[in-house]
Symmetry: C2
Subunit: 385 residues, 2 copies
Amino acid sequence: MRDVAIIGVGMNKWGELWQKSLRDVFVESALLAVKDAGVDHIDSMYVGCMSSGLFVGQEHLASLLSDYLGMGPIPAARVESACASGGLAVRMGFMDVASGMSDIVLVGGVEKMTDVGGDGATFALSTAADQEYEVYHGITFPGLYALMARSHMEKYGTTRDQLAQVAVKNHENGSKNPLAQFPQKITVEQVIESIMVADPLTILDCSPITDGSACLVLCSADMAKKLSKKPPIKIIGTGNATDTIALHSRSDFTTLNATVKAAERAYKMAGVKPDDVSLAEVHDCFTIAEIIISEDLGFFKKGEGGKAVGSGITAVGGKKPINASGGLKSKGHPVGATGVAQVVEIVHQLRGEAGGRQVKNAKIGLTQNMGGSGGSAVVHIMQAM
Amino acid sequence: MRDVAIIGVGMNKWGELWQKSLRDVFVESALLAVKDAGVDHIDSMYVGCMSSGLFVGQEHLASLLSDYLGMGPIPAARVESACASGGLAVRMGFMDVASGMSDIVLVGGVEKMTDVGGDGATFALSTAADQEYEVYHGITFPGLYALMARSHMEKYGTTRDQLAQVAVKNHENGSKNPLAQFPQKITVEQVIESIMVADPLTILDCSPITDGSACLVLCSADMAKKLSKKPPIKIIGTGNATDTIALHSRSDFTTLNATVKAAERAYKMAGVKPDDVSLAEVHDCFTIAEIIISEDLGFFKKGEGGKAVGSGITAVGGKKPINASGGLKSKGHPVGATGVAQVVEIVHQLRGEAGGRQVKNAKIGLTQNMGGSGGSAVVHIMQAM
């Protein structure tokens, strides 16, 4: 297997992009990544997207996007695993280069979510849960994560304030990210007093509905040394795992088994331990998710993720910075793009070009991207070459 | 890159499976493939599916299907390229084994299309075309292929009877396939006199709406020799390509450029020529498609595909049998499953277990799977080890 490196990254300004169609939103980031890499061609492409069918009535994305990039007849594939689609696209691109099939691969993620009304978006997102045994009976994602939050609070004493502190920290970070959808700083009081969605989660505990994209250019590590003007970032570990799609099928609501397994696989492949990780971008679709994930990745003991946020350990200046980009919470969450954008942030951090949110001495970065209520997860570990 | 072989195949009876849900339809074929391979575990899974979101309100298939197979926490991904999703899943599975990431991979394709009404299915399928520049203006797939048919008739003198002969031949083959949705034999007169859909295509020129699935087990060629009781079938070539998603963007409606390019790549990798191919399964979503594809794969000169059908060359007893399985036309076309089912047929043929539709001296088999009006294509070439 060949070593694989990232030599280009691109991301557009996220938000409600009503002036732009799905294809425009994607092409913006793709061209930025190609420019950043300085390459003159692409051998193949992978696009992560959760549900362009339900959001904008468009499938066959591989054809559409290679066409609008002017890159046909390249091989191209869309990959889907709900909100983990982007991370999975990175993994497919990795495999393509590692196998020797392609030398230079474009990996992208995109979602255009604001062209349908609120009910349409809620339904489209609900298809990440078990349609027949969860969605049909009326549950939506804030409800599923509220069950996890209540369980974690009961079992480990995690507090309402600690949940809110995740949102406050991520908006603080996002205020330094010019591409974030909601760069406004917020307070614990504002989070707790905002509109209730599913007890204990208020609207400021929830990530938003977003239009956006993010892209990477991957190539073999050998080629990266010759091609890249900026420091190439090597992908040293990739892990993917699945769990039951339905929350009710699990024995414990306070741990996410797919994340545990995906992380184990990525750590093993990379030959690193949780303590070796300088910073992480994790899937904070709801505030409770970041707390549980930070434990499942082995950063903190089970039940201590809430305290870690409160003590500042996960802030940009702390020992284990999490979601320096602003996370899904502040940066936005165009579901299929999120997993790719997490890698974009790690590349900026490891290159030392993250501006006001730069983590000092960033050596090894980790991303954790997750589908549904944790039914799938993808973890990548990266290091500057 | 490691050599990759197919050691197990499975396919359920296709049709209107109203008693079964998407997950059941998939699991049936998956268990048949695992049993056929005789393996006791799977390292990872790829599922081709075009639009479970629009057909049954379910995304996050990787999690759902690994869960219902009892195979979580394996890595799993859904891949999509409209009706070429299945072929693309085979390609991803190939890459996973070739790269050395996984040893034993389950590749499946599935679609549950009959749970929505006719309008719902027509809309879901239309999302394989350009939503903003084709679908919005009212065109659907029979219309797009009718444009190709008229162009081919004008340019090359292809006749109405020749189109009908494709359907007649494929239903003749399908009558010997116990898993086919429509195993009834038909006549040229019946095709021509059936209900008009989009001139010149009548309903018997069109492939049906189908529920169904198909699965394969892949492993490294070295491992296949030890594991497999039946002759392992090696994948000696894989090619994937894209074209403009919209038909109107192309300079010629009588050739499918993605198919030409995907075939070139697969032939080059396999080191074989069109003349070396013993039999092929191709994407006859409409009768005209088989004629154009048979030319684009290099089996016949441009414009002579129609005559080839009429002369019996593409029948099971002919020199270049095409769609011995009955093709999409008679076997059915659960869009995401089709590309995998094509490979299932080639494996049966190369093993010599295709019963009444067995092609004599089948040495090298080819599959061609296509998305939309040809905006993407995947070609695989296989040979018994």
